[in-house]
């Protein structure tokens, strides 16, 4: 039965509990069905790129932590890669291995948060969220041993990392690597076969692959559409060409596919960490000749990495001084929002929240 109803406009956010931060979605509903949606953001804009122009290259590492604050390690990684590319620094191998280990652990942590909140948006009363948070805590414990902080690590430096991992880190990492696959299995038992989850997510929020490519979407969203585009495979930075891992793909490009891709990526990341741990070699973690105040020559460089949420790029312009002349961040969360309207229109209120959760954005990164 169709009734002519009045289209109503509702502001979802900026204080809505499911917008993952101060995000506002101006949605027009016809009954329960979305007819229009427009994302509005900038509530968390801190001018990080401008701040970079006043900081030295190492100082800015601390600010990259604050962009995607559930995946600080990868933010650091992207930045130091850009600086190394700009200044022509060859990092020391042990530092690179440590960077890879921490980045992959960070990817697991970030995906855990993404899955947990995705299920929370489905209305699962925080149970999967608590489970994923529990495992994330273990990763944070590892990071605390590694660099003394739990959220904002500032672990990496141009040329490597600031300090070698302590002895107690490695057995803890082993335990984690041994137990984590079971936990992932457990999530799958709890979620992947759950009929309610299936009926809520399958076929919802579909976007065709070419639209995704055209809209510069990246990360699990792109891979959930069957596009095998992962910078770790296609443009191997650091030592990603020396580790073996598979690229999880799904072809449905719906919310469930995004979820399942994240789950599989966690397994692959565990594999990568294991490989790194096997191949890591002793030595300095940072070349002695790299000074604290890096002075790259004039020029520009663009480095991109595969962050948990997609392609994270740093475009840095140097004028030869100790601070970047211009720094631009290509934030995956920000650009993935381009297609939000396409994903939402025609679906219902409940689907809106779920689709939004499946994109997995982080407001610190969107607004920067």
């Amino acid at each position: 039965m169709t009734l002519r109803t009045e289209p109503v406009t509702i502001n979802i956010g900026p204080h809505h509990p499911s917008t993952h931060g101060v995000f506002r979605l101006r949605v027009t509903f016809d009954g329960e069905v979305i007819v229009d949606a427009e994302p509005v953001f900038g509530y968390l804009h801190r001018g990080t790129e401008k701040l970079a122009e006043e900081r030295t290259y190492v100082q800015f590492v601390t600010l990259t932590d604050r962009m995607d604050y559930v995946a600080s390690m990868t933010n650091n990684q992207g930045w130091v890669l850009a600086v190394e590319k700009l200044a022509g620094i060859t990092p020391s191998p042990r530092g690179v291995w440590l960077r890879m280990i921490s980045a992959e652990l960070q990817r697991i942590a970030s995906h855990l948060v993404a899955i947990g909140f995705f299920l929370q948006d489905l209305g699962a009363f925080a149970t999967p969220l608590m489970y994923t948070m529990r495992e994330r805590e273990r990763i944070l414990d590892l990071f605390e041993i590694l660099c003394g902080a739990r959220i904002t690590y500032s672990y990496m430096r141009p040329g490597g990392v600031f300090q070698d991992a302590p002895q107690e880190f490695w057995p803890r990492l082993d335990t984690f690597l041994k137990e984590m696959p079971h936990y992932v299995d457990e999530y799958e038992r709890l979620i992947s076969g759950n009929e309610i989850v299936l009926v809520r997510t399958k076929g919802i929020g579909k976007v065709p692959a070419d639209t995704l490519i055209n809209a510069s979407a990246s990360g699990p969203i792109l891979r959930a559409a069957g596009v095998d585009w992962d910078l770790r495979k296609k443009d191997p930075y650091e030592f990603y060409d020396r580790v073996k891992f598979d690229l999880p793909l799904a072809k449905e490009s719906d919310n469930f596919a995004r979820y399942i891709v994240r789950i599989q990526e966690m397994r692959e990341s565990l594999k990568i960490v294991t490989h790194c741990k096997e191949q890591i070699e002793p030595g300095p973690v940072r070349p002695k000749e790299v000074p604290f105040l890096v002075r790259p020559p004039r020029g520009d460089a663009y480095a991109h990495i595969e962050a948990p949420k997609g392609e994270l790029g740093y475009y840095v312009v140097s004028d030869g001084s100790i601070a970047p002349y211009r720094c631009h961040v290509r934030a995956p969360s920000f650009i993935n929002l381009t297609l939000l309207r396409d994903m939402l229109v025609g679906w219902k209120v409940a689907d809106m929240i779920v689709t939004f959760g499946s994109i997995d954005i982080n407001m610190g990164e969107v607004d920067r």
Partner: protein, 223 residues
């Protein structure tokens, strides 16, 4: 079959009900009789005989014991450990702080400093309200005078109370975090269990050797 996935989910939650919770109670922990007896180093029966009142409270779930949160030795806390004996007042930390929250004033009167003396640091303000515990100040300290602390209970009602002054820094218990201090780590020092570290104990994380000094001060300059 339809509905089977739901049943699997129920099994997972039931399994987790049997596990120990992962949350930590802080600052004190509620314990039962067994926990309290264990904390006092007795067996429960003994304990109940000796301290019946406490035993009843424990059975009622009212007993608590203090809890120390597990922390890594590298934990970067909110406070700073400063060794005045080592500080030369060079203010590298103030210069390299990304937020510029450290303020150092040495000898405002312009007193003559004799050879062998160090600068008298009169003001050493760290504005913890804006500190993000990145540790760059510690990293750049050339004489290992400044260390991260490992405290995290400095909540105050006003921002102005969060300012650490030089007197406070001097009086702070000297339990430095081993963050960026490999020499402490090599000794197996742990701020949470170990004793206070004297300024002589903490050493230098990077002893300057002559060739390096010559390289940076002579060769590179004359290039």
């Amino acid at each position: 079959m339809y509905g089977f996935g739901l049943l699997k989910g129920f099994s997972v939650t039931a399994l987790n009900m049997a596990r120990t919770p992962f949350t930590v109670q802080y600052p004190d922990r509620r314990v039962g009789l067994f926990g309290l007896a264990q904390a006092s180093g007795m067996n429960p029966l003994q304990f109940a005989m000796k301290r019946p009142g406490d035993a009843v409270r424990a059975i009622l779930g009212m007993a608590k014991i203090k809890v120390e949160l597990p922390q890594a030795p590298r934990f970067r806390g909110q406070d700073f450990i400063w060794y005045v004996e080592r500080c030369t007042g060079c203010a590298s930390c103030a210069k390299l702080c990304p937020l510029g929250i450290i303020r150092i004033v040495t000898d405002p009167a312009g007193r003559e400093t004799q050879e062998g003396e160090v600068y008298d640091v009169e003001v050493f303000d760290i504005d913890l309200a804006r500190c993000m515990a990145c540790g760059i100040c510690v990293e750049v300290c050339p004489y290992d005078a400044l260390h991260m602390g490992s405290g995290f209970e400095r909540s105050k009602y006003a921002f102005k109370n969060l300012l650490i002054t030089v007197d406070e820094l001097k009086q702070m218990p000297k339990r430095p975090s081993t963050w960026f201090r490999p020499q402490l780590e090599a000794k197996g020092y742990d701020p949470h269990t170990g004793n206070e570290a004297d300024w002589r104990l903490v050493g230098r994380h990077e002893m300057p050797n002559l060739t390096q000094l010559k390289k940076s001060w002579v060769d590179d300059r004359t290039k």
